[in-house]
Amino acid sequence: MRAVIRDGIGVFHPQGFLDGSSGSSFLSIEDIDATLKSNASMILVSLKKVIFFNRNGLDTFVKMFQKVRSENHIIVGFCDYDKKKYDAFKKFYNNDLTFSLFKTQEIASLFADGFKEKNKNVLLYSEDKSQRAALAIELHDNGHNPIVAQTQEEFVQKTKVKGAYDVIIENTYLGQTGQKVATRVTGNAIIYTVSSFLDAEIGNTFNVAYHNNSLNVGFRLFIFDAYKVVSMNIHALNFFSKLASSSAEYNATICFVGMSFDKTPLAFKETLEDAGIMFFAQMDDILQNKKLLEELGASSMAAVKNKRALNKVLVTELPRFIDAAVTTIEMMTNSKAVKDAAKVDKIEIPDKDDKIASSIGFYGDIDGMVMLVFPLGIAKKACELLIGESTDDKELILDTLAELVNIVGGKVKTLLADEHISVDITLPRTYHNVDGLLEVAAGKKGVQVDLSFDNDKFLFFLTR
């Protein structure tokens, strides 16, 4: 099949029914290679004339996409679909969308390098906060003016204003951003959701590596949303007791919310409480109680565990980490970064005033943690685009900063995947001030790179 190439986007148009047997007949890797030779910087498959598809049919394309993306570093994905098809994608791939989805080719063209028309007023909405941020950043980077609706209601309201926007984006997904493993809430708590019967299977389904890395990054409050748990058996009890003990080494707190003990022995609750787990009836009992949230979530002790040395692989990949961080922030602040100094040592922050920080962990083929220290001014400037207006609300700035760091993490993940290094990233952890970060980073050796953005000092620290 031949692609139609316009504005640097190569689009394939299969027709009819797409399943496991027809997928490879519609499109081959040779077809894509031929399109790339014609200077296409984005490869898409249009679903406009596809009336039926299933997971097997899509998988044929997705495998080719992964190969093409890792070799050519270009955007790959699908376009021209309706809400029903978009929902099918979400259902098939859940949180593992490695490719992009553009509702229309017009929307895709806004993200293409070859698209000549710039400065479009673009209204966008995604229910996923990280996606909203990623879409806004890419649009801004491509010279457009993104207006981000923070809620569905706001989006609907804004779309009613005729002629206000050149393009309206919804049901669109950028595939290169970070993964979503758990939900983060303000106050640096991580919420895990558990449901139905908790038994020995929890040991397989719960992502221990993710949890450990979150501890390593500095998260101290973990909430299990257990509203939908029917019962728990002795194996699950042992699992949570052990989890609580290991988390205690980091001074972290584990809470259960909404857990009913109608079908679970009440003695289990006592055992878990003895292990340090706290129980709450409602999620708001924690989340709406700022003081309690601060007490439970504040890191009061340094992460003394896992003081590990940097390894060669990590140092080799260092430029990728710095590139991902610097390009994202350069783009967001519209200023150029200058590298002042680099050293391998413990983190050192000479001037701690008016600085906020964030950290994000990664694990898999390699593991470690990136810490970023921002002057409040730069953080405000960088977040302005994502919030849509200037703000002095520190909570809001920290929240948005977390999204920004999540994007950096997502970029790192993509860059490493291109080198066949597979990593997952934790949720980003933010710090009101530098002291919080130093508690986590204390004693850890790493690579510190000092950068200047228009004379504002910015610090990048990579450690394990």
Partner: protein
């Protein structure tokens, strides 16, 4: 430009000369199954074709069927008529396909697949008209005619395909002012099929809906069946999938029923 005379001269060749086939078709038209089977037995090529056709997996018979009377009995009047038309078309099938990557076997499969599924559809829609039941045979016939017409100007076709992503049906129209469905209609006229068959065929293009509700409904089912069949790997690779433009909106209201009937999940 290929003239209408050239097209007609090719279509002219479609009704084959074998007297036995003509007699068989005539008896089938009168609903005389037993007599038709007796006549058909005298043509060994027709015999072999019918055996190969009816024993294809798409018909789903467990045991091999060998007797013509048995085959006609199983297929019924309309099914037998359709099979006879398919045989007629197969006589025209080129020894070597040049544009579409087909061969004798894959073309027979296409005929058999379309016929069997169309029968399923007409049964579902409670259509008993044997001309309607045979109408789907026109599509493979027009594919043969199109192949022949394209081959007259093969280099032009390849050039047009290389400079722009134009579907073959549009090229066909540019070359001879007729598209696949116009050719099918012309064959229908040649076979003296009723006018309504031409209407169904035109509606099945997806771009020429019929004012008559039943004709339009049948056109939708045929359009979707065509794409269901042409989405099979052999026909995608043969270049038939992008022969015509799929009109997804035209068939949206029958899609659910179609997937249920064809057990697509």
């Amino acid at each position: 430009m290929i003239t209408i005379q050239q097209i007609d001269s090719f279509i002219e060749k479609i009704p084959p000369s074998p007297k036995i086939l003509q007699e068989t078709l005539s008896l089938l038209n009168q609903g005389e199954l037993i007599k038709a089977a007796k006549v058909a037995q005298n043509d060994s090529a027709l015999n072999a074709y019918l055996k190969e056709l009816v024993n294809k997996p798409v018909y789903g018979f467990k045991n091999e069927i060998n007797e013509i009377s048995q085959i006609f009995g199983i297929l019924g009047v309309s099914g037998s008529q359709q099979a006879a038309y398919n045989y007629m078309i197969s006589l025209l099938s080129p020894a070597k396909w040049k544009l579409f990557k087909l061969n004798k076997s894959s073309f027979y499969d296409l005929q058999a697949g379309l016929s069997a599924e169309w029968q399923k559809i007409t049964t579902y829609l409670k259509i008993k008209d044997k001309d309607v039941q045979s109408a789907v045979a026109l599509l493979p016939a027009s594919i043969i005619v199109s192949e022949a017409l394209f081959c007259e100007r093969l280099n032009d076709v390849k050039l047009l395909r290389s400079v722009d992503e134009i579907d073959l049906n549009t090229i066909l129209q540019r070359l001879c002012s007729m598209d696949l469905f116009d050719i099918s209609q012309r064959i229908a006229q040649k076979w003296e099929m009723p006018q309504k068959i031409a209407g169904i065929i035109q509606a099945s293009s997806g771009v020429k809906p019929s004012a008559d509700e039943t004709t339009d409904l049948l056109g939708k089912w045929m359009h979707l069946l065509l794409f269901y069949t042409l989405s099979k790997p052999a026909y995608i690779e043969a270049g038939l999938n992008d022969f015509i433009d799929f009109q997804i909106d035209y068939v949206s209201d029958i899609y659910e029923d179609f997937t249920k009937l064809m057990e697509i999940s």
